[in-house]
Amino acid sequence: MMDESTELSVSITQIVQRLKGTHLHSQLEKQAKECLHKPEIKLETLKDDVRRVLKASGWERKLQNAVYRELHVLPPPGHPRAPPEHTKEPLAYMLKAQASWEKRILKSLNSMCTELGIPLARKRPVMEQKELTNKWNEMGTDEPDLSNFRPVYAPKDFLEVLIGLRNPNTERSDDLTVKSHWGLIQVSLNVHDIPQMRETYAELGLSYGQLGIDDHTHVPPDLFESEHIHIGKKVVSEQDSAAAQQYSRQGCPTGLRAQLWSLILNTTNDPEDITHYEQLKARVIHHNLLVDNLIYKDVKLTASNDDYYFVFEDYLYQVLLCFSRDTAVLEHFNYNSASPPKSSIQSKSGSEQCAVVYPPNGVIPFHGFSMYVAPLCFLYNEPSKLYSVFREMYIRYFFRLHSISSHPSGIVSLCLQFERLLQAHLPQLFYHLREIGAQPLRIAFKWIVRAFSGYLSTDQLLLLWDRILGYNSLEIVAVLATAVFAFRAENLMEVTSLASAEAVLADLSTLKVMPLLQIFLFATSI
């Protein structure tokens, strides 16, 4: 074990390494050089004077934000002799399960490819490239024949895999006792209970104001809302990433949310970001990928049919098609238990087969994937900006929802936490649902996988995602799932089948997220 100061210096080294050579680095150098011309810079106190100027002009803050961002994606420091797999996932059995799941997905993709006789990737003829360039802003008008394509997998397939997870180190007892876990997840992970969460989520407590509760029509705005908006404006003008994250815990005002999220995620819309996006767009124009059809199909089946998101269909293509080709995303596999799938392609001469990452970003979309992007369309309408925000949210949070890992924000932990909370605080309900063959996770899983996108009304969803960003954790999603069951407990106690349980929980569009969370976390007797 390393001691704290060694850990710190390792982290610092890593962050410096990562920031070296970035656009920010060159900008800082440029700024530093330029300010040498200023009269107030004296040779004797060069270092301090330059530092002072950079601070006053806001560049120090930008650096702070960049460092803060790196801390978010930096994997926890491990033992110097631990293999890289450890950083991805410390538990061997989880890593193995993820690897075999990946094999299955890839096999499914390859067989679809063989069946349909469509190559995984194909260069577009010039005519087609021209056509696509002209139609770039309205790809939704295209109606390709997608009937032969099936999604590679759906959330329920993934759930079956999670249910089958077993830790080879634990002794399994098949006897159901009061002390045993009633749910479907059969591995043991350290998840938080309510007393622990009351500390972690203190700002959601009853003595704090919240957007989503205290901005209700009958509450005078002087009590909380006006002041909160005022502080929000200050945070935005200070351009402080860490402050924005703290602020977001109590909710972001609608008019400021886009800027605040951008600040928290430290996404910029500099010329270099726009260039990067344009490069991705060029790749889309040049090559057609098999996964593109999966993306089309997913968008048509989910977002296009949604009352709120149908309008943004074109944006979804513009983001997801580019996302598939973004090799910068591969970096996140350093701390993701998943690994990018490799497919063998024949080299030009036809004589060799080499393995390439497919799709280029290593992420195979599944049914419902486009719903991670759809809510963001309400905040950003410049494609490059929308893209940057989505990508950052994916590599920080969303990837954990569909890869098998022991991380506290990973899907396994979230499912387990949901089941444990339900069993601990609503045992009668859980027992009843079990008895009628309606395991709660079977209903809640789809909400958790999508972080509730498409199930809540958009304004409520964004209030929830405010807190995901604010607390840098997906845990709140599991808590909300439990709170929803608690809210509809009375009706659920009356049902006698899985189908009727599903019906009770089919429509969440009228739910108010923050009161539910607050009541569950702070008003449940423990």
Binding site: P253, G255, A258, N305, D314, F378
Partner: protein, 410 residues
């Protein structure tokens, strides 16, 4: 005693009237206390009907002063002139929410003058008296309408019409506000219960109707792009009824707030209020006021890229047929609250500023929300309108209304 109603329509209003406690339908020549009629019935029967004091009917006799495109424009222009003369330029400029419009054929020559001043602009031709997008087309060259005038492109049925149909030619708004590349317009509901003095209510719910295809000026022949009426969209080749292409007003307002910030959107909605108020004031002296009459108008508003609202038209008989369950629920609430305001049951005091989803917008003068005792003077006056805001009407109605006679309070 029960309230006898007559209903000429077979859609949502029929259900609302049917479900209202104590209301009984009468047909044919039977006497009625309440009549929800169509404008055709009104035209034929209003002048011959004697109505007792308590009787109510859902149209004003000459509503067309507001709802017929050529008359509305005439009234607005006249009102604007009066304002300019009596108050000044700035006040008159507040009426500049309708695009340059000319009645044809009567104003053909001044139209041509205006047309020539700005060549290359797109204009839209609309028949004065038709609805649902029928007969509308776009043009850029005078040649297009000269041909049309010579009966060249008119259909047989149009040629058969006994009288020459009136049209208006209007400057087409070429820079509409787009959401994800799509054009949309707003349908807003305004209830007028009296013109002299003017008393008007604004409903909180409404919707934005999206065009099914992406907006582009290069395809002015594609009427499906430019016309957002659901009725027209329904006939477009790629129309998918399951898509709905409507957003609730709350969704739109929330989207705009996320994009432009709270203050900008508040200003926008104040300007939209201004459109309603000025258009009603412009016909105040022309419409025959009658205490028996009330009217529920469907306003069509278009936003441009600078977030300026434009008045497209006013409908005296906004469609009450529902395109989806959500739409049905909206129209049901709207009509239910309309009947609450008409108040055949006599449950209101007349001092209310809000009834269900309706907020009192104008009561012989602007209406402001009730401010607390700590208000700091007139700079704190806030308009009493809440278009696109939360519509918690059920709670409000429970507190406001006494239950129907014979009904237990829940």
């Amino acid at each position: 005693s029960c309230i006898r109603y007559r209903c000429g329509l077979t859609n949502t209003i029929q259900d609302v009237l049917n479900h209202r406690p104590g209301w009984v339908e009468v047909k044919d020549d039977a006497e009625w206390d309440f009549n929800w009629c169509d404008v055709g019935w009104l035209r034929e029967n209003f002048d011959h009907s004697y109505m007792e004091e308590h009787v109510r009917i859902c149209h004003f006799r000459n509503h067309y002063e507001l709802t017929r495109k050529n008359l509305m424009v005439k009234n607005l222009k006249r009102y604007r002139k009066t304002l300019e003369r009596e108050v000044g330029r700035l006040e008159a400029a507040k009426c500049d929410f309708f695009p340059r419009t000319f009645e044809l054929p009567s104003e053909y020559h001044i139209f041509v003058e205006e047309f020539k001043k700005s060549p290359g602009n797109t204009w839209i031709m609309k028949p004065v008296a038709r609805s649902q997008g029928k007969g509308i087309f776009l043009f850029r060259k005078l040649k297009d309408i000269i041909d049309w005038r010579k009966d060249g492109s008119r259909s047989e049925e149009q040629k058969d019409e006994a009288q020459v149909e009136s049209y208006v030619a209007q400057r087409y708004i070429e820079n509409p506000y787009l959401i994800a590349g799509r054009k949309f317009d707003l349908r807003v509901y305004v209830l007028v219960t009296s013109y002299i003095p003017l008393k008007a209510w604004l409903y909180r719910d409404g919707f934005a109707r999206f065009s099914n295809t992406r907006f582009s000026l290069s395809s002015i022949d594609d009427q499906y792009v430019h016309l957002t009426n659901v009725a027209v969209q329904k006939t477009a080749p790629d129309y998918d009824p399951e898509k709905g292409c409507k957003w609730q007003m709350q969704q739109l307002r929330w989207y705009l707030t996320a994009k432009h910030g709270f203050e900008t959107v508040q200003t926008l909605f104040k300007e939209i209020d201004n459109v309603f108020i000025r258009s009603l004031l412009s016909v105040q002296k022309t419409i025959i006021n009658d205490k028996h009459c009330f009217e529920l108008y469907g306003y069509d508003i278009l936003l441009d890229q600078d977030l300026k609202p434009w008045l497209i038209e006013v409908n005296a008989s906004p469609s009450l047929t529902a395109s989806s369950q959500e739409d049905y629920d909206l129209k049901y609430r709207l009509l239910e609250d309309t009947l609450h305001i008409v108040d055949m049951e006599g449950r209101l005091t007349g001092k209310e500023k809000r009834i269900g989803g309706f907020d009192l917008m104008w009561n012989d003068g602007p209406v402001y929300t009730d401010v607390g005792l700590e208000a700091l003077g007139s700079s704190c006056l806030v308009a009493n309108t809440h278009l696109g805001c939360v519509n918690d009407r059920e709670k409000q109605l429970q507190q406001l209304l006494k239950p129907f006679p014979g009904q237990k309070k829940t």
